[in-house]
């Protein structure tokens, strides 16, 4: 016999959860007491509920297992919304448990009452309001099933306080399966469609594989790599898909889209066949005017979500299904196919791509004297960590530089908020990653703007003794905003600078019990980075003063085709 609170924690344990991120409050006190009374499910106390969701999210992205969050009602619940929305946009499996006022006070504007089901509705995959304690095991089972299957996403469980009352106990049994008759995500692709796609793919003259976050989240990276290498075709990844194909391999043409490489975007634009897999033709890829998007391409689109197919760009061959079984079947059919790839055409295609590559769109022009370019910091980071770190990021120029210059060879190493673009994501996400992999190198590439959105998590890092390395590309500005203002608003920097009011990040880090290092000169960049990463047992805040005038290039020209880009402040295609 268990109380509702005990049942909840027990059910989490039975579901395989050993770590949750949360913040207590009145409506969840029974649950916190249940946590106190056991030792199977660990709890990490964050300093803001938004950080709990990002930490759980980072944990989920790095491990593939669902992240779990516990927050109180009212402000605790609403604080979690940004993190839930972030996870929703990037299809991250997450279960968020929110306290609610007691059943008899729901609807009475009780203290700390918020309609969490209503507030979260547009940004969750599904949600449950627990009506009675006996329902807890099945609700938990169903919530995890929904969060982790099909196109993953966040699920909210809202629990009225009296449901977790320690004074009332019930028999407990954790269900084997979640019975949801109205929910049946696809388990494999349509063989006929796959056959059709393989045929087109093998007859292509100028093919490209465009893969996205779905391949990372669907654990399809290895199969994708095998398929691409079997075919010998070029591969581009979206911002969310980095690591799904090894970035240092010669078939990789870089990230595509708004800040994609010249060769990736040119190849897309010129392609005759595009295999889009686990990608959703987001406007940051297609550059908003879809009528100009890849005019000659036959589009083969694999996605687990039927609604993602032909949403913006019409697919000629849609395939709905999880990436792994679809890729397996594709590989089988490619191996069995009698079609000979036109090697001559492919060689000509590669020649063209290599010509675009020669443009070297990510070449870094060093600044004068000791001024550090932000790109050089990422290059140094890559070198110092041997390209083998988990990199979390915030949102802005630093994020794009990290994506462009840290060459991810493995999936789940690049952890960023792609869909929602949530500043403040990086540090709490790093908390989740470091807790999942205590011995791994975890670096958070951030900007002085973003880091201040969840800076309080330095305290969590201290409490949990997390040796995260924060790499702050300090350009003394909301750099990405400033770049747009430079390019589209005549250089009028409306509310995007604050150089006179920045904190001393080194002192700040130290006051939270960490190590702070400031890097101001190019000549000491690598050496000091090495020094920072040599500190294995402490968080190091590396505050790097970078060129405040740098822009991210290439940059897509608004409303243009994929081939239309600015390549520097003075050049365009």
């Amino acid at each position: 016999m268990l109380s509702g609170g005990d049942m909840l924690i027990r059910a989490l344990h039975d579901e395989g959860v050993d770590l949750i991120f949360g913040y207590p409050g009145g409506a969840v006190l029974h649950i916190y007491d249940a946590i106190f009374n056991q030792d199977k499910v660990d709890h990490v106390l964050v300093r803001h509920e938004q950080a709990a969701t990002h930490a759980a999210d980072g944990y989920a992205r790095a491990t593939g297992r669902p992240g779990v969050v516990l927050v109180t009602s009212g402000p605790g619940a609403t604080n979690a919304i940004t993190g839930i929305a972030t996870a929703y946009m990037d299809s991250i499996p997450m279960v968020v448990i929110s306290g609610q006022v007691t059943r008899d006070s729901i609807g009475l504007d009780a203290f700390q009452e918020t309609d969490m089901i209503g507030v979260s509705r547009p940004v969750v995959k599904h949600s449950f309001m627990v009506q009675k304690a006996e329902d807890i095991p099945m609700v938990v089972k169903q919530a995890f099933h929904i969060a982790t299957s099909g196109r993953p996403g966040p699920v909210v469980i809202d629990i009225p306080k009296d449901v977790t009352d320690p004074g009332e106990t019930f028999p407990y049994e954790y269900p084997e399966t979640a019975k949801i008759r109205s929910y049946s995500p696809p388990t494999k692709g349509h063989s006929g469609q796959i056959k059709k796609a393989v045929e087109i793919l093998m007859n292509a003259k100028k093919p490209i594989i465009y893969s996205g976050g779905g391949v990372v989240m669907g654990d399809g990276a290895e199969l994708l790599t095998r398929l691409a290498q079997k075919l010998g075709y070029p591969v581009t990844n979206t911002l969310m898909g980095l690591g799904a194909y090894p970035a240092t391999d010669k078939q990789f043409v870089g990230m595509l889209g708004m800040h994609g490489t010249y060769e990736a975007n040119m190849s897309m634009n010129d392609a005759d066949v595009i295999l889009a897999i686990g990608a959703r033709f987001d406007d940051r890829v297609t550059n908003s005017d879809v009528s100009k998007f890849c005019p000659d391409a036959t589009i083969l689109h694999v996605d687990i979500d039927p609604a993602a197919i032909s949403k913006t760009v019409t697919a000629h061959v849609p395939i709905v299904g999880p990436v792994v079984p679809v890729l397996e079947e594709m590989l089988e059919q490619v191996n069995a196919s009698k079609v000979q790839i036109d090697e001559e055409a492919l060689a000509a295609w590669w020649k063209k791509i290599d010509h675009w590559r020669e443009r070297d769109s990510l070449a870094v022009t060093p600044a004068e004297g000791e001024v550090i370019k932000p790109q050089q910091v990422i290059q140094a980071l890559y070198k110092v960590t041997n390209g083998d770190a988990y990199i979390t990021s915030d949102v802005g120029q630093h994020q794009m530089f990290a994506a462009q210059y840290y060459h991810f060879d493995k999936p789940r190493r690049w952890i960023n908020s792609g869909g929602l673009g949530t500043m403040g994501f990086g540090l709490p996400a790093a908390v989740g990653v470091q807790l999942a992999f205590p011995d791994a190198i975890v670096a958070c590439v951030t900007g002085e703007g973003s880091i201040q959105m969840n800076i309080q998590e330095l305290a969590t890092c201290n409490q949990c003794a997390l040796p995260i390395k924060i790499v702050n590309l300090n350009n003394e500005a909301l750099g990405m905003v400033k770049q747009w203002q430079d390019m589209q608003y005549g250089g009028r920097h409306s509310h995007s600078t604050y150089a006179d009011s920045l904190p001393d990040f080194v002192a700040l880090a130290e006051s939270y019990g960490h190590v702070g290092i400031r890097i101001e000169k190019l000549s000491e960049l690598e050496e000091k980075m090495k020094e920072a990463f040599a500190i294995k047992d402490k968080l190091v805040f590396i505050d790097v003063c970078v060129d405040p005038n740098e822009h991210v290039y290439p940059m897509a020209i608004k409303g243009g085709a994929m081939s239309e880009m600015f390549l520097s402040k003075t050049e365009r295609t």
């Binding site: 509705r121 547009p122 109205s182 039927p306 609604a307 032909s310």
Partner: protein, 163 residues
């Protein structure tokens, strides 16, 4: 193009708001919406009429299908179907108009279900188009109140929407 989508929805708290929320969230139109339990008390039947081109309708249907509480759905307008809506309308009926209103109601096979010395309450069922036609035919009279149920429908023949 006008479409009629019929949905079997889990009879769960909040399920309806997920469906309605989807329409506002994704900027889709709802022209009418009816909902009531079915013979199976765990399922509600919802009928939504909406307007959009094929691409939009395809998206609406895909997104509706993604809602966990949506058990099954069908676009009735894809095949031949039967559609009915109920109209209750109060019209001013005095003097010579009394007979005229009654005559129009008879033509449309409407029933006068309530009377006062100055008005009629008329009940009419049919397709939404027929109801529109009736209201238009009453153009010359004073319409006091209109209550329409929104369309409900089923496919013709042996096609059945059930679990």
């Amino acid at each position: 193009m006008r479409r009629i989508v019929s949905i079997l929805l889990e009879n769960q708290p909040g399920a309806l708001s997920r469906v309605v929320g989807l329409f506002s969230q994704r900027n889709y139109n709802i022209n009418s919406l009816t909902v009531a339990p079915t013979d199976d008390p765990t399922l509600s039947r919802l009928t939504i009429t909406t307007i959009g081109d094929d691409r939009k309708i395809e998206q609406i249907i895909k997104h509706l299908n993604k809602i966990v509480d949506v058990a099954k759905l069908v676009d009735l307008t894809e095949g031949s179907h039967i559609e009915r809506e109920l109209l209750l309308i109060k019209v001013k009926a005095t003097g010579a108009q009394r007979a005229e209103v009654k005559r129009v109601a008879d033509i449309f096979r409407g029933d006068v279900v309530d009377v006062t010395p100055t008005m009629y309450t008329i009940q009419l069922t049919g397709t939404s188009e027929k109801l529109d036609g009736f209201i238009q035919a009453l153009d010359g009279t004073t319409i006091l109140e209109v209550a329409r149920s929104g369309a409900s429908g089923v496919a013709r023949g042996e096609k059945i929407l059930s679990l």
